[in-house]
Subunit: 443 residues, 2 copies
């Protein structure tokens, strides 16, 4: 009987160790994908693409019997040789190739040059060949940044006493209801895909007090804009024992600050590759919905057309306004009108036409919706009745309120939108690995 | 203009600080849910349930004008008073109540006594009132352990150079195909819910070399057993540049070991509450599929009925066999027959009737399926053809192989099953927050 002991056979040199100078003058074996091959007379440069960057390998034609024609772009190879300090190499080190072993070869050339600094294709072509396009260094760097954001969200919230939860995406009913639900048949019963974990995260506040989830949500919206997806990753949290809804905004600002520091510390290479300057998250201005509308109408001579909601153009102008006035990249807009918020939103006792809620705008785009929720059973029933809604299918949701719930609230952050703004893209598909929109279900 | 600075107003005492003795003799305000109220003559004990444990609060009837009748089980309260060392209190400290503020009250009594050590209801009743049942201390502890497992998975893999990815759950086609797909309409086109991120994680090996995902998967299987769910959380990873499929097993064993240490270090309270002894993950035996079948047939006098697959009873007996023989809780079973593995599985060049694959059994239950995948384009096409399958809908999957892929493999771990075995439950619904099975779509 053999045994597995969880110890990897680390015979391959890692890029980080090479570039840190730990293997200088050492004989190593290193693997990677052939990024480019450049023959310069008697010397051939083989640049390997590794998961964390590029590595220059050099082949002296005089000293080798390696057949260079076999080294093709996109081949997976294993190189043996000696590490040498070399100022002109990316990262300051290179491998002098002694042997090169082809692990696998492409069957055909790439549909476009992924090794180029900027991918030479339109977004449509990029998305049609997504898994190939993502091999481009800058394309993949976007998703390392995205990873950093999700890590920051989780690590910050673990530290704040939150519990991570996994709630079902298949259900009989969803929190917001309405037309934007994907419907399916579940063993001869009608079912929906959850458009948000709202009901579940609230129910779990009664259990864990503070919960978060990072999971897909599904919206059958027919919008086909640069900022809409039909499936996206939502960073959700919900917390009990809040004094008021500003506790939620402080928590979100804390997450953003923590995450920017994490990115600086652990994703510096990707930030540099993409030329990203991190936004200021130390002081985020707060403005009421009605004031924001008014200010923007005055400042930019724009007529208020829809009094209960912010139009995308208004959001953009609010972003512009706080940038010009406070140098701020983010702004919390608070007290949205009750009629545009879901039934579970807590109305402002001072003026029930407004809710104790907020959106967070980043560079003029909504990336978060949040607020305090109703925790009182009777108040919840009254609001459901006042809206002419039915409690059917909400029995278990309502039961937790009947059994007592602390004052609470929460929020949801659109991961792809936050990544998009951080990176400075203008289409949310650029920061989604495999986007789903009204026309795109593949790859 | 006000500003949010990400600084929470920490006026409330946290349980950890109280139990660490940091607030001894201090005046504090602390909040929580009333877990139990016990009147003992002149003294009333109010036990608060907080997110990380229980806190004893004591009210001296002579010295207070608090109306005890208002303090009901399940109410959310805020208590002010002085912290005192008290040996008989859970954790060694209590709060001498001076003031108690009711933040919210339940409308009705709980449907059952959640404060009991063991919940006095059947699993069916538990699941029907899930969000209330989870308030029980031991019920919720299971999901803290589950959190620890997912944290361990991610943190270990980050450390091993993996990139976290988010792949779409809505698609035109899924990796395994077949009858167990949930189907839906996607803007007048047929779509499916992904039964695994298989295609996507393989495609992303070409991008990031090593990737993982922790996300829901959907299986429309009609099995209604103690170990099946129709939606579950899959811990998936896929890695390139493997030498052979044992690299994958070593990585999984590394994850298990890392996670057991994380649980010991950070979830000791929950382990104690549930009376869990962690399994041995230092040495995991490995046995070939056909040998395992044979050994179990011999050892337990069991006839081999299905030569190409392991029956649940056989898995259980293999678990028993390695426990009796090696004291092992886990066992890797390798080289499953090709005809029972999907088309993308790499056949063993020494005997193509078997694959370079494995399952991990934990206490006789399959919790992981993994293996090396085919990375050669032509080999993949040949296998698809040999199986009489069509490449339709797989164009983008196949494109990454045409453009070159390193040798690679991966695995998927059923989170709820792993949690179930770790905790010693025998029904996977016990370790799923809101389970989905053939009869259950709510809550």
């Amino acid at each position: 009987m053999e045994f597995v002991t969880g110890t990897a056979k680390k015979e391959r040199a890692e890029l980080a160790a090479i570039l840190a100078g730990e293997l200088d003058e050492k004989q190593v074996t290193v693997n990677g994908i052939v990024h480019t091959v450049r023959a310069m007379g008697e010397v051939v440069f083989v640049i390997l693409r590794k998961r964390d960057g590029l590595l220059q390998c050099v082949l002296e034609m005089k000293e080798t019997d390696v057949d260079v024609k076999l080294i093709r772009e996109a081949a997976a190879v294993e190189v043996s040789g000696v590490i040498r300090r070399e100022e002109r190499a990316p990262g300051g080190f290179e491998v002098r190739i002694e042997e090169i072993r082809i692990l696998s070869e492409p069957a055909e050339p790439m549909p476009f040059a992924v090794s180029r600094w900027k991918l030479p294709v339109t977004l449509e072509t990029n998305l049609d060949h997504r898994a190939v396009a993502l091999r481009n260094m800058r394309e993949r760097a976007k998703f390392k940044i995205q990873e950093g954001i999700v890590r920051g969200f989780r690590d910050f919230l673990y530290g704040e006493g939150f519990t991570e939860v996994h709630t079902p995406k298949l259900g009989a009913k969803s929190a917001e209801g309405g037309a934007n639900l994907f419907k399916l048949e579940y063993f001869h019963r009608p079912a929906v895909l959850q458009q948000s974990p709202q009901f579940y995260k609230q129910m779990l506040v009664g259990v864990f007090e503070r919960v978060f989830e990072t999971a897909p949500v599904f919206r059958a919206e027919k919008h086909n804009t640069k900022r809409h997806l039909n499936e996206y990753t939502s960073l959700d949290f919900e917390m009990g024992f809040i004094d008021d809804f500003t506790d939620l905004m402080e928590m979100e600002a804390g997450f953003l600050r923590y995450t920017m520091r994490l990115l600086e510390a652990e994703y510096a290479g990707e930030l540099a590759l993409l030329g990203i300057t991190l936004p200021d998250t130390e002081r985020i201005p707060v403005i009421r919905f009605d004031e924001a509308k008014q200010k923007v109408a005055e400042a930019y001579g724009r007529q208020i057309r829809s009094p209960y909601d912010l139009e995308p153009e208004e959001e953009a102008l609010i972003g512009q306004y706080v940038k010009e006035t406070y140098g701020a990249d983010f702004v919390f807009v608070t007290h949205y009108p009750s009629r545009k918020r879901p039934f579970y939103a807590m109305d402002d006792p001072k003026d029930p036409a407004y809710t104790l809620s907020f959106d967070l705008l980043y560079d003029g785009l909504e990336i978060t919706t949040g607020g305090q929720r109703i925790h009182d059973y009777q108040m919840l029933l009254d609001k459901i009745e006042a809206r002419g809604m039915t409690t059917e299918g909400m029995e278990q949701y309502l039961e937790v309120f009947r059994c007592g719930m602390p004052p609470h609230g929460g929020l949801g952050i659109g991961l792809e939108r936050l990544t998009m703004k951080l990176i400075g893209e203008d289409n949310v598909r650029e920061t989604t690995l495999f986007p789903r929109d009204i026309t795109r279900l593949e790859p």
